[in-house]
Symmetry: C2
Subunit: 164 residues, 2 copies
DNA sequence: TCCAGATGTTCTGCTACGCAGACTATCTTG
DNA sequence: CAAGATAGTCTGCGTAGCAGAACATCTGGA
């Protein structure tokens, strides 16, 4: 097929359709996290890196600052994260996960490993890994986050990233 | 990396981030079509297959029926598609593209070919093609559209699809 | 033939969400 | 110390999706 014909071959359609499947399928596994997939991503970002500021978090997750405020209100209310004043910049808050947040993330990672395979049920293991790597690589390059390049450097297993 | 650590390795994050990049990048190219990417997808679906009913269209594009009604109002108002009564079922409407719609789609396809490469700028040509194929394959399997299997059969170039 | 249930389309109302803008506190630069 | 930039929060607006009802029509069975 030189010129893709059906809607199914459109990049926008494929992205949207897979996104919908992902959200629908993971809804159950992420039900108890405030904010759903976003709450999960916040926890992930807080636990595996230097405690990020709210703004850095918002940029990386593609959210508005005001939305991040409300999202963190919920997560903090649920006792999963804490806002700590940055000792070097009293305007900023460093977001760190509580032990409860770490425990929940651990549990969620286990569930998601299974559920995400369901999302990619049409692909064999090698294809799943290939899709993950390609998606990450393409997504990181387009992410407006200020520290995307720093993070990218850590993902050496995904192959070399250009530019940046 | 046995256990993905950074947010950038999360499937949900990568999908969302790439989706945002796609929408931002293609916004200009799709500005003149009512509904943006959705309008484009409607045109694509109408022109390359049997004229679909509104409901079939909505399911394939992942939209609510009521949203499809408004979207088609706009497209019809712009003279790009027509609603024709289905001769076999007077409840249903068959959506067909006008000649203006076909001309616009032709133009849009040309623009998108360029712009979509910008979205995937971090990938080399072989990787881009691989990502497209994997995305389509994964997305089609999760699409709740009733005739997804029929469509899937036409995409023989993307490799065999399981189950269905 | 007639009836009950299912299906396609449209309309109404509700809710949620993101965004723009203003505001405060703080940092940085000169 | 002054001026501009940045982090976080709050308010209000416009939009978008979804549930539910309403209406027309199809299908299958009595």
């Amino acid at each position: 097929m030189t010129t893709p014909a059906a809607v199914e071959a459109d990049l926008g359609w494929a992205l949207g359709a897979l996104m919908r499947t992902y959200l629908r399928t993971t809804a159950g596994a992420l039900a108890e996290v405030p904010g759903g997939p976003r709450g999960y991503q916040v926890l992930t970002a807080c636990l595996h890196e230097e405690p990020p500021t709210q703004l850095a978090l918002a940029r990386r997750l593609g959210l508005d600052r005001t939305v991040m405020t409300h999202l963190l209100d919920e997560l903090e209310g649920a006792g999963l994260v804490e806002r700590r004043p940055d000792p070097a910049d009293r305007r900023a808050r460093r977001i760190i996960a509580t032990s409860a947040g770490a425990a929940l993330l651990d549990e969620l990672d286990g569930r998601l490993a299974t559920v995400e395979d369901t999302v990619l049920t049409a692909l064999d293991p090698a294809e799943r890994e290939a899709l993950r790597v390609l998606l990450s690589k393409a997504a990181i390059a387009g992410c407006p986050s200020a520290d995307a390049c720093t993070v990218a450097r850590e993902m050496q297993d995904a192959g070399q990233l250009d530019g940046c």
